[in-house]
Subunit: 418 residues, 2 copies
């Protein structure tokens, strides 16, 4: 019989994962900083914008020169030159004067507003008819309207998006400090595993987890370091694990984590410096025989050998681990984003266990349907056919046909949905 | 007054964008192929798995040897050896015999099922007591159960996910043909624009769009080629555009696309070989002064100069353009995925125009609230504060407080939501 697993619930596992923090810090240039996580608050070194700018094509004026102007009673202003793009405005605007200005042009001294050109007409080269009253600061952005010098404009822990890079560029920051990109060492164990470019003999299978887990790491901003295939040999796995922890921030071993004669991963983990076992089994399906521990501060993870189980555990728990190691405070892929769909059939589930069910999404009459993809355990085709996962809570005995479910998508940019 | 814009609706623009197809084809290795789009159907070169495998630790038997066995009436079988991982099973199983087999082990000749070890106990070294009846093929995966040799296992146009790489690895494919990665040449125009590493003088602003648009391209799988800043000069912009179309698959110019004295982008586009104007203005806000044309088959795009408008147009339309150029049949970022939230206040909108409103997401008592972020046009801080966009349809005059809206997120991995 199986020995006793002290299973942790998924929530207990998330709490354990959330104790980890970011790995390292580096300065990265603006061209490469997209999707990285800030390691410090960023403070504006200057005002943005640095000068008052027009938001419209028109004429810069003192607003009071237009007070009372209307179509029936236009104001007549003296044209006093023109502001050119990219140059300091050289003229000074007095009461009763107007200076031509383009969108984005620098507001000349004396002016406090811009009349859109649609409300103006030139009577002659020197006389402008304005048929609308404007208020002070109309169509004008003032210095610091975006961000004030000295203010924090992006916070530590923020993952950088295109617009964040834009603000940094606008403020003249060509690089910024970010947390390190977590390096994840991946080892596939098993006497039956051969590399992808070797012919497989009867009884052998090719190394799949290296590619599935490596690609998942890349997708969530980590750098996979593939250590290769290791036979089910204690000394060999110990040596490879020790090397991995020197080269990487975290070690993932797939295979060998079920209880029994092959409980090699845990035996090797127990020899690592300052090893502490945190999780030995999670009350989920698939993915129960998962090990989470630490060697010093480095997470060491034993994932199931089955490719489908390993990938589900990685999607649900390891993306969050990578968020923590990246210094990001987010939830990983954990179901926050995703699509709502209607379940196509009843699904039973054992109480006391969280089930992750693969589903395919189908559009029927404008309605999104989630159809469970069943199949023998150990098949990878079920994951290829599926578009995502739905979760069945520990405390329910299943879901009913027609229930609204949230689908955690395998690929946010999936092209198969039309 | 403004000259006449023949505005296209967003749906008309999507139809125009959907006419473009993929650019080029190349062979990419498994390590780099994540997120690329297959340019051909992939056919399985062999069965997966290649041999019958056990899905459990237990004993391989002829199922009929267990017929009638139960706890009260166990079957007694003769133990005939052991299957080792990674090796061809050498023994042959006869009626009345059992061979020890691990999970993933190769089923020996003669056996057609596996009894889980939990239902077995060894009486002595040669005698196994089995207290359960199994059916033929129980706990066994057969050759080709995942994919049959010769069958199409992934389709042309599919964007590759971690599990797809896994199947390719399992089948021994170390590379595959994919569509080219679209190269997007980006030019920022404007006499006022200076590069980010130059101090900005009064009247000048730094080049923001290069970074926002470049980062957005990368995020959706395109390769930005930053051509640099170009002054508002016809000849200079023409030369830079011609060079861009030699280096890239598509040209994006930001700035200069509003009607008026600065309608330089369109004038330059009109000099390009076989130019055809497809869209001159879209009935959306922000982003109306957008130009879409083609030079031969290459898309040439004029984006608004305002960073906020340019980025909204890029999020809504250009991500879909990049999907098409990538050979992906998906919808870009266009609102398929995203979060549902409750609108915090009424928003007015002009009829006959599609409005894209920046919103911040706030969690209140387990409920997700979308709060509009308003601000003067031309400010980038509104985009930094916002988590995403909501769309107000052309044919409605606004949305009401409490309405359920779908938020297109700027960053699918946003860490600010807890």
């Amino acid at each position: 019989m199986e020995s006793f697993f002290e299973l942790k619930t998924p929530d207990e596992v998330f709490d354990i994962i959330d104790r980890w923090g970011p790995v390292g810090e580096e300065i990265v240039s603006l061209d490469d900083i997209m999707d990285r996580v800030l390691s410090r608050d960023l403070t504006a070194p200057e005002d943005l914008p640095q000068f008052s700018r027009s938001t419209m094509d028109g004429y810069a004026v003192k607003a009071k020169s237009t007070f009372g102007a209307s179509e029936g009673m236009p104001a007549l202003l003296e044209v006093g030159g023109e502001v050119l793009m990219g140059e300091a405005a050289k003229v000074v605007v007095e009461a009763g004067q107007a200076v031509k200005i383009p969108t984005g042009g620098m507001l000349p001294e004396g002016a406090d507003g811009v009349v859109m050109k649609e409300y103006c007409s030139l009577l002659d080269e020197e006389t402008l008819e304005v048929n609308r009253t404007i208020s002070p600061l109309e169509n004008v952005i003032q210095p610091g309207d975006d961000f004030r010098q000295g203010s924090v404009f992006l916070n530590k822990g923020h993952r950088l998006r295109p617009q964040d890079l834009g603000v940094m560029a606008g403020l003249g920051l060509s690089a910024a400090p970010v947390f390190g990109k977590p390096r994840i060492a991946i080892i596939s164990t098993g006497d039956e595993i051969v590399p992808v470019d070797k012919p497989s003999l009867p009884g052998q299978v090719r190394d799949i987890n290296r590619y599935t887990l490596g690609a998942l790491c890349r997708r969530v901003g980590a750098e996979p370091i593939c250590m290769g295939v290791c036979p089910d040999d204690f000394e060999a796995l110990k040596r490879m694990s020790e090397k991995a922890l020197m080269d990487a921030d975290s070690l993932w071993i797939s295979g060998g984590s079920s209880v029994g004669t092959k409980d090699l991963t845990l035996k090797v983990f127990e020899t690592l410096p300052q090893f502490e076992l945190l999780v030995h089994g999670i009350s989920i399906s698939p993915g129960k025989p998962t090990i989470i521990g630490k060697s010093g501060t480095q997470p060491v993870i034993g994932l199931p050998g089955h490719v489908a189980s390993a990938l589900v555990v990685a999607e649900v728990f390891m993306t969050r681990m990578i968020s923590r190691l990246s210094g990001d405070t987010g939830l990983g892929n954990h179901f926050y984003t995703g699509l709502e769909a209607e379940l196509s059939q009843n699904i039973e589930s054992a109480n006391g266990r969280e089930d992750y069910i693969r589903v395919k999404l189908i559009e029927e009459g404008g309605n999104l349907i989630a159809r469970p993809v069943f199949g023998k355990s150990g098949l990878i085709s079920t994951l290829v056919e599926a578009d995502g996962l739905i979760r069945i809570d520990m405390n329910t005995e299943g879901l009913y046909q027609g229930d609204r479910v949230r689908v955690m998508l395998f690929n946010f940019r999936d092209g198969d949905l039309r």
